[in-house]
Symmetry: C2
Amino acid sequence: MTDKHSRRATASEDNLMRIFTVPEAADSTLGRIEQQLSVDLAGFLQGSIAALEQPLAEIEQHFDAVEIPRQPRFVSDYVDDIMAHLVAQSVHTAAPSFIGHMTSALPYFLLPLSKLMVGLNQNLVKIETSKAFTPMERQVLGMMHHLTFGQSHDFYSRHLHSASHSLGAFCSGGTVANITALWIARNQLLKADGAFRGVTREGLNKALKHYGWDDLAILVSERGHYSLGKAADLLGIGRDNIISVAVDEHNKVDVGAMREAAEALKARNIRVMAIVGVAGTTETGNVDPLSELATLAAELNCHFHVDAAWGGATLLSEKYRHLLKGIELADSVTIDAHKQMYVPMGAGMVLFKDPTLASAIEHHAEYILRQGSKDLGSQTLEGSRPGMAMLVHACLQIIGREGYEILINGSLEKARAFARMIEAEADFELISEPELCLLTYRHVPEFAREALNKALAKGDSAKLDAINGELDSLTRAIQKSQREQGRSFVSRTRIAPKIYGADKRTVFRVVLANPLTTEQILKEVLTEQRAIAQSETDILSALKAVCG
Amino acid sequence: MTDKHSRRATASEDNLMRIFTVPEAADSTLGRIEQQLSVDLAGFLQGSIAALEQPLAEIEQHFDAVEIPRQPRFVSDYVDDIMAHLVAQSVHTAAPSFIGHMTSALPYFLLPLSKLMVGLNQNLVKIETSKAFTPMERQVLGMMHHLTFGQSHDFYSRHLHSASHSLGAFCSGGTVANITALWIARNQLLKADGAFRGVTREGLNKALKHYGWDDLAILVSERGHYSLGKAADLLGIGRDNIISVAVDEHNKVDVGAMREAAEALKARNIRVMAIVGVAGTTETGNVDPLSELATLAAELNCHFHVDAAWGGATLLSEKYRHLLKGIELADSVTIDAHKQMYVPMGAGMVLFKDPTLASAIEHHAEYILRQGSKDLGSQTLEGSRPGMAMLVHACLQIIGREGYEILINGSLEKARAFARMIEAEADFELISEPELCLLTYRHVPEFAREALNKALAKGDSAKLDAINGELDSLTRAIQKSQREQGRSFVSRTRIAPKIYGADKRTVFRVVLANPLTTEQILKEVLTEQRAIAQSETDILSALKAVCG
């Protein structure tokens, strides 16, 4: 379908066979298109904007047709079309001024490797469609397991490639990783026992009856990721049984309060199934006291899972890995390579300290996943899935520990520098100190700052609420306008800064993972936010009114 | 790290910044590596073998280290290494003689597009990290919805881009798609009701108590995919409550038997939550009587899900889409684009006939997925996920309906031709007639064929079992040896061919989706199998002994 003699593509068997045939030379039509695409992609990735703002409604008009086109199209025509309407209107997640989310720049060497990975089209569910990709993925899981749990070499030589063991599961992302961990925790707890064949066979209702509990519960910080609620829903535990425990002023879960919550549950005959520690909260980037949580989990005889989807990469830094102390005591740990490990989207992992843990979710079929096979699919939530582990493998080898040391330390130290920068400005307020490379803050005009301080001194909570309410509007307006201007991007969330009481406040949220983000860019982000604030005259008037 | 002056890569901040910078020219080191990779990949994809056999234990030795290397490596060194130890030992899923699984060749235009997709690194969980990719994915889901359910243009103009509606969910594969559909079915059935806040909030135990049922059940053919058992486990329903209903001699579920099973469940106060129809069984490629199942689902007032993960692509053929008649009556349908739609691994979809259905699993968070947002993540099982929908979008446009018509019809007709070829050979036995493009068969030496026929005529089931037992060994040995020789690959499974009674027998399983597979290749597959059989002298002697 790449014949350029006529602009009308035709579906013939010959043309179709051709699209499945690899082009022989770089100067073929497809070869030329590929080169142009690489140039265009490079141009896009080097652009210094975060997004080109076009109203979503306008973009949607290009994606309105629901009938699959009858006629085939030339690849070149299709590429022209998506460059204009899809690529140009996508988000520059790699831009150094895109600091609002956990998606960051990628090392360029991953792009040709991705093409290779996609072209090989391996299916990791089974050896028969993946062969060497299976031991390669197991090695990646082994390396991450070693990084996290640091077991002996003998341990790894016994379990790394063993058909009856599993050091972890590779999956599309942290959500599936967390669900997998809690699924295992539930099935381990409600395992077969005498005539009872286990929750996996008989279901939750009979399992609870057999064990004599009224319900199950999961204890986690109020800063836990929303995927935990999803897991509780999916697993039949119910979102109300995710017990949300208060955090201290550093956004770390209050272990004392968690212990009390556990006791209250016990009194109600509700069994604590798992404690989840957060190693890098999504909203503030803080790490729970993992060692203390491990102690509590041991007391309660329950599963201890650590959600380090985002923060787990910090283990790659000798200098800062102490921030995750206690993670080695977990039964299972979630780490996303597509967050701080600089791997493209779609590379999640859950690691199991005990390599027999995943037998709680083991399953088999007649044509694959046969007993004793090394098919990875017999102990994963997902079925067919791609060879994404190869990209993690590449990063671990090409960047190496020394490279990650520089990258991770650079991010954490940049966040600390940005925090000092914010504190040095009279009209910005640091809301949460960065523990890893994530922080929150807001813009507070000087007159509002003074009014806030006075109200705080007086303990005038009505006034505090009124001022903070207007500041919420200001923060929202600045974030939206900055996003629309497209030069830079920060995100926003709602958290309750302790000094202002229990109400949630809107704040800017910044994740500093892109190695190309400079302090100069961070200065410009603040300058831009201040300028936008000054143009928000209606909100400023309302703010002045409540401050007055 | 691509500096070639010294072979010892060093981690310096400068080197690290360079790997995040796009190469400016095709003649840069990385540009040259990329070109070489493309050539090597092309060579691999054009190879005519299905796999290069090296014992797994040997391959594993290259993936034995569990310590992440300290030193960075040059990209070129890494590439040399994986070309030798990973790529060369991966499976040639694109080879025309690799006909054992659903993974097939890819149109070459997808490779540069994949690099583009990975390079853009969009995260489809939210608009802020995907922008135009969100309406693009919605369009793909809309096109597949229209293909399946054919609703009015007014319907699509109201729902396609609506924040409060969802025509489907894109996901990593059919397993997640099936789980999502059954999760929705469970939550819809056990929804909030008066003071009861729904299963999503209160969990399965309280939900069953509230509604007064002892358990839930899912009805499906005994040929249903193993992911349904996984879903039942995960959702707390229990694998025993997947009621496996017998199939007729064409491997289609017996609807009468299913109705009886439903009645028996009702008598035990077990509520049928969903019926799953299979549109393309994994083992034999048959389609259940979908219209009749829809009628039964209406009678039982339960959810009707169709698992068309593999067979759904047949809807793209005007000539053969009638084989899936009744699919338009389903509440939800699973289709994998990475199976017969020629898209790389990782492109699953579940479609919802009613665009409000997914509200049963809706969830929100403070920093994303806010109420009223168009963030796709508020109604998906997965969280962060890549822009794979772009590759489906590309195939639908570039191949078009006319192109798919030729591809799909070609596969189905090739399977029919292969079936006739098998029947024409005295020493091969067709086990299941291809309805779509999948069939099963086995090699039965002529002397064994005669003995089987005699035993059948006499009704000598002991003899039949003895002969079939030896034939099972023969089939396993041939499949293994053929795989190891690497010229071609068929898979094997165990099913119960009605003429031989209720016991499962080992058979070859072939999926004819690769457009480059010729009838000549299929002839050679049979010739190779016959030759291998003749070399299996021990099994042949044993077979002769039981036939005698």
